[in-house]
């Protein structure tokens, strides 16, 4: 059943004298010595394990993880879809892996035509899917893309002699949106959501003025709801020359169906590790390409590419570029994976993807809305939000439901987000899950309600089969242990 052994880290397993790698030989000598004041007093006390020790250690660690390849992973707004293996095979081709980025510094585009072609392909595909006129692949994650987007918006306003103070976000936004605004020096105005879950248009109208630099929206929003007033919001913002920023976290719902550029967004970021199936890696790497319309093109980062006849060349940004947020083209290995996936998917695949993602989420909502509180019972998009508010009165919280599910080989949905729904449970199945898996999930969720009605105290014992249960988060902070001593 559970793993009763004390944790053994690589440091616990270290044995003086063990070696894990044989290095290439030192086939030359030198008499030169560095000045002694520049040297370490003692070697860095890294552990000493053999290669096999390491293989055993990390292989066993990997077995303690849930992962998409093993488990249903319905985390809302994360889009935990299947990661196709052809993508890995292509990304690991020698022709892509061992390319040194300073060929850019040396202006040696002719040696990396393959890399530049894939970047160009991705930018073109993304422009077509989103309705924007130019893209940059430099942001290394969604939040990094948000930062770039707001920087460009800031420069737009400054270049007109018009430095503004505020960014508007709905109260349902991801935490990264207001955090990004702060990082770029803005204050945040938060607009509440109305009874349909959309940003309250009247309150928005009252707060919108010429001090607002931009409005950041996720579409559909984090409640899984598509707001048909988006165009009105964009029109109003534009009447004050404010920019509309699209947080692409939920793109999987509308890919091939709605184009953010068409409905009025000026700048967007895409989370390719969500919508375009690049592996999540346990928390990264991601990549957050940013697209702009013509208004913001001149502010893009200072490294780009252009096609001249049949060859690709590097471009350096114009005088209004915001500068650099990454040294070169961002996470090339990840953007390569994204375009590989998109080529395989094609236009037909993209529309089908969003359709099935929305079908799966609505099926779950339909099966669960009479067993849980459901603040929004009508059609959702690719994710749905239900609530354990009533169960919580019996002592069973959203966290308890989350822990219960883990014992059935399923990762929990997102809990306690969005913040505006009490005891929120946000479920995004994605399009790659089959009906049998989804039915099992719904069955278990309904079982959980049963258990809450008959034996609520039982929940505190879950999960029972994973070897550990209910970490003491307070102790983790009060008795801080963040490294091996």
């Amino acid at each position: 059943m559970s793993n009763n052994m004390k944790i053994q880290t690589i440091f616990d397993k270290s044995q003086d004298g063990r070696k894990g790698i044989n290095l290439p030989p030192l086939d030359v000598t030198t008499n030169v010595k560095l000045d002694s004041n520049l040297l370490r007093a003692k070697k860095a006390s890294l552990p000493q394990l053999s290669e096999f020790d390491n293989i055993r250690h990390f292989t066993n660690l990997s077995n303690k993880n849930m992962s998409i390849d093993k488990n249903f992973y319905p985390l809302g707004s994360c889009t935990m879809k299947y990661n196709p293996k052809i993508v890995e095979r292509i990304a690991n081709l020698d022709g892509f892996l061992n390319i040194h980025p300073h060929v850019v510094t040396n202006n040696n585009a002719s040696d990396v035509q393959g890399c530049l072609q894939t970047i160009d392909m991705l930018e073109n595909y993304l422009c077509e899917v989103t309705g924007m006129s130019a893209f940059t692949t430099t942001p290394q994650a969604g939040a990094h893309g948000e930062m770039l987007g707001i920087m460009m918006i800031d420069k737009y306003h400054r270049s007109k002699g018009n430095k503004r103070k505020y960014i508007i976000v709905p109260d349902s936004s991801h935490g990264t949106n207001p955090a990004t605004a702060s990082m770029v020096g803005y204050d945040v105005i938060t607009i509440k959501s109305d009874e349909h879950g959309a940003m309250d248009f009247e309150e928005f109208k009252s707060k919108m003025n010429e001090d607002v630099a931009a409005v950041m929206l996720t579409v559909p929003n984090t409640l899984g709801i598509y707001n048909n007033k988006i165009k009105d919001i964009c029109d109003l913002a534009h009447s004050f020359d404010a920019m509309m920023y699209y947080d692409g976290a939920n793109m999987n719902a509308i890919m091939g169906v709605v184009r953010p550029g068409d409905i009025g967004f000026d700048v967007i970021h895409i989370n390719v590790h969500k919508t375009f199936a690049t592996p999540h890696g346990g928390g990264g790497p991601g990549s957050g390409p940013v697209g702009v319309n013509d208004k913001l093109k001149e502010f893009l980062p200072d490294l780009g590419i252009k096609k001249v006849d049949d060859k690709y060349e590097f471009t350096s940004g114009g005088k209004n570029s915001i500068g650099k947020i990454s040294p070169f083209f961002g996470n090339y290995g990840i953007t390569l994976r994204a375009i590989t996936y998109m080529i395989g998917l094609g236009s037909n695949g993209m529309a089908n993807t969003s359709s099935k993602a929305v079908l799966n989420a609505n099926y779950i909502l339909a099966r669960l809305k009479d067993h849980f509180d459901a603040p929004f019972k009508s059609l959702c998009m690719h994710e749905c939000v239900i609530s354990a508010k009533t169960l919580a009165k019996k002592g069973v919280t959203a966290m308890d439901i989350a822990k219960y599910l883990l014992d059935f080989g399923m990762h929990s949905p997102t809990v306690y987000f969005p913040l505006i729904v009490k005891e929120a449970i946000m479920i995004e199945p994605t399009e790659t899950e089959n009906k049998q898996t989804i039915d099992l999930f719904c069955d278990k969720m309904i079982d959980a309600v049963e258990l809450a009605n008959t034996n609520p105290e039982e929940f505190k014992l879950y999960p029972k089969t994973l070897g550990v249960c209910r970490p003491d988060d307070t102790r983790a902070i009060k008795e801080l242990d963040v490294k091996f001593d």
Binding site: N65, G175, A179, V258, G323, T340, K435
Partner: protein, 441 residues
């Protein structure tokens, strides 16, 4: 190639439960749909592979690499690929449910521990995007801690890093000043002069972009006397033999982790490290892993100190960063565990010795000048009467990426090249490079 498993029967069953007639009704409420997107149809797996294999073949991969500048051609052990390629690692996600993620969480705890042992610092986070943004975030961290608004930037830092730092700082109206080098070294006197009570931090790189190693102990003392912080951007492999940041007195350490078991991949993905003194832990950006006990007293690992992060603090967060570069940090954890205490020392020493050998051999060429001969680690600058571009092109034709064109990065460095040597370069390759250079200068 859609990966959707739905059969016609299943679709009908599901629509019935939802209460809709046809699939397109799911989007019935949306008033701004497009009429399809103008892209080709999807390709099957084999055709996709052939297409990209063809594209990959347009990249040159057979030249011998003597380029460094923050990205290095170091060994990548096959064990790292084998382990990190396990789908339990690469298809898992952020470890928000601790019980379901002990693999990732323990590996990150081990990562944090390794970074502390490498740098000597008290606490590390679970990684940043890359070395450049880690340096930028270190500067922002120093501004938060000291509540002062001026950053001194040493010109010896990687110039693309400096650009990134300047970009981050300029949007926050934080004052910064770049302090020029004296030859290829930090101008300690000039730096000392600039340190006053308005300075939040001094950012420097060691070894610097040109490979020169410096002694910053005195500067760091002066900084501390003025209640300013020392932020060092270091080169992890060099820490096998070079003085560690903590012993120098540095307050914040950051670095790029590509050199530790990660492929160059045309510049990314890599990851950034950031570590600091115990008293500044609340100001660290990004994720932090801690060890604790569960309800039955069993040890386990968790994300901790989350109240610093964006999903809780929102506009008051220490940073907007959400992802760490988990898979790359994991690879480096495996790398450091494989190479071990002795291996890192050996590797560092090998890089040093090989580059000194190359330096000596190049020094025998008439018409070639070594610009920074003393106290360098694995890279150094040479100068010939050829233009940098010309020099590199001629050597490229002979099968070498002989270095980085410094005249493309700096105003006054015509004819200068930054050459780097890693443990992978053999005596034969180095001798051939020397011979080839001798033929063209």
């Amino acid at each position: 190639m859609p990966y959707t498993p739905h059969t016609k029967t299943e679709i009908k069953e599901m629509l019935d439960v939802i209460g809709l007639e046809k699939e397109s009704d799911l989007f019935g409420g949306i008033n701004s749909k497009v009429n399809g997107i103008n892209l080709p149809e999807g390709l099957d797996e084999f055709s996709t592979f052939e297409k990209f294999k063809n594209i990959a073949s347009k990249n040159v991969t057979d030249k011998i690499i003597f380029m460094g500048g923050g990205y290095y051609d170091h060994i990548v052990p096959s064990a790292v690929d084998a382990l990190a390629g396990r789908s339990e690692f690469y298809t898992s996600y952020t470890p928000y449910q601790a019980e379901a993620s002990q693999g990732t969480l323990q590996a990150l705890y081990e990562y944090q521990s390794l970074i502390c042992k490498l740098s000597g610092m008290d606490v590390s986070n679970a990684s940043m995007y890359d070395g450049a943004s880690a340096l930028a975030e270190s500067a922002l961290m120093a501004v938060r801690i000291t509540r002062k608004n001026k950053i001194l930037i040493d010109a010896g830092i990687n110039p693309t890093y400096i650009k990134v730092v300047q970009t981050y700082l300029s949007f926050r109206d934080i004052e910064f000043e770049v302090i020029d080098l004296k030859d290829y070294e930090s101008d300690m006197d000039a730096v000392k002069e600039k340190i006053d009570s308005t300075v939040a931090a001094y950012l420097f790189q060691n070894p610097n972009f040109f490979g020169t190693i410096g002694d910053f102990n005195e500067i760091i003392e002066t900084l501390h006397e003025n209640k300013a912080l020392a932020v060092i951007s270091a080169y992890p492999i060099s820490l096998g033999i070079l003085n560690d940041p903590a012993s120098m007195g540095a307050d914040i350490f950051c670095a790029d982790g590509q050199c530790l078991g990660n492929y160059m991949n045309f510049g990314g993905p890599s990851f950034g490290m950031i570590a600091t003194k115990e008293q500044y832990i609340r100001n660290l950006p990004g994720r932090i892993i801690g060890r604790t006990l569960d309800k039955d007293g069993k040890e386990l690992f968790v994300l901790t100190m989350q109240a610093r992060e964006q999903h809780i603090r929102r506009q008051r967060a220490t940073s907007n960063i959400c992802s760490n570069q988990n898979l790359l940090a994991l690879r480096s954890t495996m790398f450091l565990s494989l190479i071990g205490q002795e291996g890192l020392y050996e590797m560092s020493n090998t890089c040093f010795t090989k580059s000194e050998y190359l330096k000596e051999q190049l020094n025998t060429i008439d018409g070639l000048e070594i610009c920074n001969a003393k106290n360098t680690f694995n890279e150094f600058v040479i100068k010939t009467k050829l233009s940098s571009a010309d020099f590199l092109e001629k050597l490229s034709e002979k099968g070498f990426y002989a270095g980085i064109n410094l005249s493309n990065l700096y105003e006054n460095k015509d004819g200068q090249i930054l050459i780097s040597v890693s443990e992978k370069r053999t005596k034969e390759q180095m001798d051939n490079l020397v011979k080839a250079i001798g033929e063209i200068v």
